[in-house]
């Protein structure tokens, strides 16, 4: 199942900050859950992400519905980890053994996954890819690389649509592409992946012609008509970034629970 997550225009919360500030915030979230071993910090960061989603005008219900399969995967991670670790005090022993260390490790793993995923979704929802590309150019990264990002995002809805159309075509023709065994997997790849890829490559050709036909790559630099300026909201995000880093370093140093 492909979650339908993409940028849409908004004017609240993180929509108002410059794309580079959003990049910084994402780095802050990732650092916090990767550096800090504290479950409380991870829980706090997860709640902060959800809070920022709300402040930015995103509906939590819609977020949960779009990402339910990934969130479910987080729960699966928790359960798998909780049952696989046998060290620590036994809390439940009923065929399967559940220990306090297992629960803690499961929660660590699940929250780490959920924060990485939800903060990435938050970033995609509130960051205008065009503005992000310009910001990247502004800090001196060659524009060819920044456009890779924009084009990748252009292709996401296209691949989603193509995938659905190909699956529908299989249904109409009564073609069974259930993955049973290696042969089934190969058949599924050939009947699904191949048509989607071919169509993607055709589109890449047209886009390449369209870009070259408008002098993309003619010069080493290009004009950035829309310049990003650091605003007051960006300073708040910068403060949040510093706070996240400081918290995760302190949590690690003083072994917060």
């Amino acid at each position: 199942m492909i979650a339908k997550v993409s940028y849409h225009k908004g004017h609240a919360g993180l929509h108002r900050v410059t794309p580079m500030a959003n990049v910084l915030l994402l780095v802050g979230f990732l650092a916090a859950v990767l550096v800090s071993p504290s479950i409380l910090v991870k829980l706090g960061v997860f709640l902060l992400v959800i809070g920022l989603l709300v402040i930015s005008g995103e509906r939590v219900g819609s977020f949960l519905s779009k990402t339910r399969f990934v969130l479910l995967f987080g729960v699966v991670l928790f359960i798998a980890q909780a049952f696989s670790i046998r060290e620590g005090n036994v809390l439940l022993s009923y065929g399967l053994v559940v220990t306090d260390s297992g629960l803690l490790a499961g929660a660590q793993m699940a929250f780490r996954f959920l924060v990485i995923f939800s903060s990435s979704v938050l970033f995609v929802l509130v960051t205008d890819p065009d503005r992000l590309a310009h910001s990247i150019e502004q800090i001196g990264i060659p524009y060819r690389y920044s456009f890779v990002l924009v084009l990748s995002l252009r292709f996401v809805p296209f691949f989603r649509k193509e995938y659905r159309a190909v699956r529908d075509a299989q249904q109409v023709r009564g073609i069974n592409t259930s993955i049973r065994g290696f042969a089934g997997l190969l058949r599924s790849i050939r009947y699904t992946l191949f048509p989607v890829l071919v169509s993607g490559l055709t589109r890449v050709d047209s886009i390449a012609i369209s870009m070259k036909g408008r002098c993309f790559g003619l010069y080493a630099k290009r004009t950035i008509a829309y310049k990003e300026h650091w605003q007051r909201a960006d300073w708040i995000v910068l403060f949040l970034f510093c706070l996240l880093l400081a918290t995760s370093v302190l949590a690690r140093k003083y072994a917060w629970p």
């Binding site: 849409h8 159309a165 529908d168 075509a169 047209s206 012609i209 408008r214 790559g217 010069y219 004009t223």
Partner: protein, 484 residues
């Protein structure tokens, strides 16, 4: 304004052979195009129209591998040793598929993309964006996200993006092929405006010729890569003489009365993301009947086919069939229905066509000799005929056809029509979505218009209602008679 003064193009004995093909895509084409001219390049699908456009801009062979012989001179300078980007400020190409040429996510950014690449000062970029949006009639869309635009709006955006490069020659490669009649009409009007402002040479690869007649173009007719006819200041008579104006006066006999309908659509409502496409839509489709669905892009035509095929579920109401629930369904994009490595294997996937019958089926579909060809290497028109042949092989009592005529020349259109007429005779009902208004008006027993309003009924009644509603682009007159 600082347009490059008129550009002169000279093509001398140009031949193009694609890397993976044996036959020539263009053979010994020599032509001269003067500043300010309007040149229409026409011909059947695969005749070399797109190849000529791409070769003039040097995308062939720079981006599409091909063996090229002969010369193309732009203002006397051979393009052999220069890059396509060096030509882009003189020649700008608008491609066929509006979706495949947009590379940013915002209208303003898209139009600014070219001038930004030219390293122009910011003020100049802004001025060009404003001017180009105005010329393409889409200033009101300036803040929109490109993904939210309709097909027609996207094509106008593609034109604006090319105009922002201020080329003196604008090439349009079947710019209306994927558009609804309204969108296509707007594109023809923009072309006419460009001609009237006198700053551009227009080279238009197009098969809908009547709306272009008001521009008094020079016509180049291609067939299998060769120029087979020239006409200057082409008119209706020329089109008739060259067999470029098909008259689909089919005059089908009335259908015999049937007791049971093939399809029942009962008070069906459906919408996406809070937008209603249709509400309480009801009709019955009788055995043999051909129902034509017309209307603007995004009006719900394809969605209705998907609902009938069971690929979507109605929000309310019901769709019922009498008898076999299977359908013969051809999608608008044929590659989405193609899965196998050869045409033969593709025909065998469903297990509905005997191996011995395959040559006969292919000959019928005008695909003889392509048995072992990879289906995805076929032209779009050929792919459509292949999927149509597969849909027919299902022998279902219901055919759902989404734009089967795109990319077909007159002979292939005739073949598809003959199959539909035969199916009609045998009692197979057909739901046909098409933007080819004159053909739909001639072939179909009834029409369903899905737009802001919904009209359904006998074709004359619906066309009359459309005329009264001011939707002239959806009436045959616009496409058959010279305008203004």
């Amino acid at each position: 304004m600082s347009y490059v003064n008129g550009t002169k193009i000279a093509v001398d004995s140009l031949s193009v052979r694609y890397a993976d093909r044996e036959e020539l895509a263009l053979g010994d084409v020599s032509e001269q195009i003067d500043p300010g001219e309007v040149v229409v390049v026409s011909g059947a699908s695969g005749c070399g129209k797109s190849t000529l456009c791409k070769a003039l801009c040097k995308f062939i062979p720079e981006m599409i591998p091909a063996h090229v012989e002969g010369e193309i001179l732009i203002d006397g300078l051979s393009i052999r040793n220069i890059r396509s980007q060096d030509i882009a400020t003189r020649l700008g190409l608008v491609q066929q598929d509006p979706d495949s040429q947009i590379c940013t996510l915002n209208v303003w950014q898209e139009v600014a993309f070219g001038p930004e690449n030219l390293c122009l000062p910011r003020e100049e970029v802004r001025a060009r964006v404003e001017e180009s949006l105005l010329a393409a009639g889409i200033s009101h869309l300036v803040n929109r996200e490109t993904t939210t635009l309709s097909g027609g709006e996207k094509q106008r955006l593609a034109i604006a993006s090319i105009l922002a490069m201020r080329p003196s020659v604008v090439l349009l490669d079947e710019p209306t092929a994927n558009l609804d009649p309204q969108g296509a009409k707007a594109i023809f009007e923009i072309m006419d405006d460009l001609r009237k402002n006198g700053k551009h040479t227009l080279i238009v690869a197009e098969h809908r010729l009547v709306p272009l007649l008001r521009m008094h173009p020079r016509l180049l007719l291609l067939s299998r890569g060769k120029v087979v006819a020239h006409r200057s200041s082409v008119c209706h008579k020329d089109l008739e003489a060259l067999g470029l104006r098909a008259d689909w006066n089919l005059d089908l006999p009335p259908l015999p009365r049937a007791e049971k309908a093939t399809l029942y659509v009962d008070r069906v409502s459906f919408g996406y993301e809070g937008i209603s496409l249709f509400e309480d839509l009801s009709f019955k489709l009788w055995p043999g009947e051909i129902l034509g669905i017309i209307g603007p892009n995004g009006g719900g035509k394809t969605t209705l086919l998907r609902l009938i095929a069971g690929l979507e579920k109605p929000a309310s109401g019901c769709i019922a069939r009498d008898g076999d629930p299977g359908v013969g369904f051809i999608f608008q994009q044929p590659h989405q229905q193609i899965f196998e490595r050869t045409v033969r294997r593709e025909l065998e996937v469903d297990g509905l066509i005997d191996s011995e019958d395959i040559p006969r089926v292919l000959e019928g579909a005008r695909l003889a000799g392509l048995e072992n060809a990879p289906p995805l290497s076929l032209s779009l028109g050929e792919q459509r005929r292949l999927t149509f042949a597969i849909a027919l092989s299902r022998n279902s009592d219901l055919l759902l056809l989404d734009e089967p005529f795109i990319g077909q020349d007159a002979k292939n259109v005739s073949w598809i029509i003959s199959q539909l007429v035969a199916a009609r005779r045998h009692g197979t009902a057909t739901v046909l979505v098409s933007h080819d208004i004159p053909l739909v008006a001639s072939l179909c027993d009834r029409l369903l218009y899905l737009g802001e309003r919904t009209f359904i009924g006998k074709k004359d009644e619906v066309l009359c209602q459309l005329r009264e509603a001011g939707e002239t682009a959806f009436t045959p007159t616009y496409w058959e008679q010279e305008q203004g």
